[in-house]
């Protein structure tokens, strides 16, 4: 991991139903940095603002106040077209419910980011087939998402996220709909990618999944409560620390 900051949030604030009586502040003045090659896990209880946070720092949502910088460029200064281009060139998204287009085959789903990047037909076919082969889904390319299992769909979602060789992968509960075997496999894929230099920002509530990361931040009620770095710890020791971190926070809730 280098010291180069690839993603930065400064005084980030997100208010839903802004200027209305039902205004709700989901994030309060958050400052946060992600370094090149980082593998950050974002944890927190339900309703703590994890998904709002990840959506806001990854251009899906817009902050009410504050600034988000990706590769030193402020997101709000980009036009809608620039953001679109930025997404397919630099970001890969993986979601809990896969977010595949049910109307398109697996091949078409994976090919879309390449198509957007103006890659030629032969190259698209070659790259999709190669990646699908590597992910073990080559025989599923002609099928529609509803014809495949959850694990297979998540692999396709990963292929789509990786096909353009993005610098940053944003994953929101990527193992949420997978069984333990598929979850472990997905995490080892993400870990391997991280080792090749891809930056990963992942939301999860599972300490075991978090233990694959190199750093964890704990969000509660829209604030970053705690941070924990893996450092030289083994995955097992790191996992223990994460469990302790979660337990401490849960016990504080009990005291209330």
């Amino acid at each position: 991991m280098s010291e180069k900051v690839v993603l930065e949030a400064k005084h980030l604030k997100k208010v839903y139903n802004y200027h209305t009586l039902n205004a709700f502040e989901a994030l309060h003045d958050i400052n946060f940095q992600v370094f090149d090659g980082d593998f950050v896990a974002i944890m927190g209880p339900s309703g703590s603002g994890k998904s709002t946070f990840i959506n806001t720092i990854s251009t899906i949502d817009v902050p009410t106040e504050g600034r988000v910088y990706i590769n030193k460029k402020e997101v709000r200064s980009m036009t809608e077209n620039e953001i679109g281009r930025f997404r397919y060139q630099n970001l890969g998204f993986i979601f809990q419910d896969f977010n595949l287009l049910d109307t398109h085959t697996m091949f078409e789903n994976i090919a879309l980011p390449l198509s957007l990047a103006h890659v030629n037909k032969t190259e698209i076919e070659k790259r999709v087939k190669e990646l699908a082969e590597a992910m073990g889904i080559a025989e599923l390319l002609h099928k529609f998402p509803y014809e495949c299992s959850g694990g297979q769909r998540q692999r396709v979602a990963i292929c789509r996220a990786l096909i353009n060789h993005p610098h940053i992968i944003v994953a929101d509960e990527p193992t949420g709909n997978l069984d333990s075997a598929n979850s472990a496999e997905l995490m080892s894929i993400l870990q391997q990618l991280n080792q090749t230099g891809v930056t990963i920002v992942m939301v999860t509530h599972d300490p075991l999944i978090t233990s694959y990361s190199t750093r964890v931040i704990y969000i509660k009620d829209g604030n970053i409560e705690k941070e924990l770095a893996k450092g030289d710890m083994s995955q097992d020791a790191y996992f223990q620390k994460i469990v302790e971190l979660n337990s401490e926070e849960s016990r504080e809730l009990l005291k209330k």
Binding site: Y18, H19, I60, D61, V62, P63, T64, E65, R76, E80, N81, I83, G84, R85, F86, R87, Y88, Q89, F93, N99, L100, L101, D102, T103, H104, T105, F107, E108, A111, L112, P113, S115, L116, H118, V119, N120, K121, I124, E125, H142, K143, F144, Y146, E147, R160
Partner: protein, 431 residues
Amino acid sequence: MILRDALRSIQKDFSKAFFYWLIFVLTTMFIYLFFNISMSDPTVDPINNTGNTITYVMIIVVILCSVDILFANDFYVKLKGKDLAVRLICGGRFIQIASFLMIQTMLLLVLAIPLGILLSYMAIPMVNSVLALSNHGFLVTAHADAAMNATIIILYVVFWIILLNMSFAYRNAVGMLMNPSGITGSSEPMTFSVGLIKIKIRQTIDVLLFLVPIILIYFNRNLSVICSLIGMVGLNFCLSNVIAPWLSRQTSQKMVEHPRMVAALGFVRRDLKVLRNNIFLFIACAVVLVSMLVNSLDNDIAMMTILLSYIVMTFLQALALMFKFGTEVSLRRRLFMTLNHIGFMKEDQEIIIRREVKYVYGFILVITLLYVINILLVYTAAGDLSWKMSLFLMAGAVIPLILCGFINLFLYRRAVFPKLKDESEERINAE
């Protein structure tokens, strides 16, 4: 309690309930008007006399009206899936679920029938003024028998709706209701083998079955009805065996470099699968009725009845098509959010929507006109039909489709973009 819930459910899905109700109103109106016209000529008895053209037209019209109502009912009931699932989870019994559905349908039907009858009575002077223009000396009057016949037909349709709703309530489990089925069916790839040759032969036969009848009409125009019927059988096969695989090839291979086309054609492929029956009904109804009309030019009453049937049925079929397309695209917002995450900009998404609507309606229009224009051309060239009348008949198919296309485009944009609009508003607020 169930009545109150049913009323709330109608209120919640008001726009869908409105379209469902509108189909009932138009169907009732048309069936009454149809019987009044046919019974205004004492020589015609469409119920007992099985040999005349009007009897055949009546059979076609009644079948199409019934199918429209059944389609509309099926969609309305499926939309209530989550409501029904919640009721089942809370311990709802079969009879309660069935009553919940039946009360909604019956309420809409009760509100629709009187209005349909009233509108059909109000339309009689208008039809007479059109008839007076053509100087046929024939006037349409209101008949008690017409009301009786139409009521029997509507009750017959209602009987089927009751059966349909009962079976829906009986066979559905919570899981199925919460997760409505996607498109099913095989999507196996074509490989270069004996299978591919068989497929190619089959596709060629289907295309020939669709196109050859058009040529035959030029040889013997009196065969236009039979040729149209054979052509529609060919169309039915072409929709599944030729168009769908062709679209898949375009999306996955030929157009794969063009992101907007990949997205739009994928959506069109899905639309053609979902709307298949409606598309077929629209085209078949327009083509068969036009061919029957040009074969009845020497019989004023038959011609007027078929003309009226043609205009109303194309309108009704286009409305049913729009209703089903509208329901399908109302679920697309999530897919467009996914496109947004992948990197499709709002401008791209607008273009994708416009292309999709244009391709779907364009396809229906082209296939319909392919038959209609050729039939009209043969009769116009022979001097049996005026150019004005030919253009009028073409407009009868084109105008409802174009109108429904624009309404669908509006509904589609409204279904897909509210969230994106909110986002840009938030962006403006933030700045």
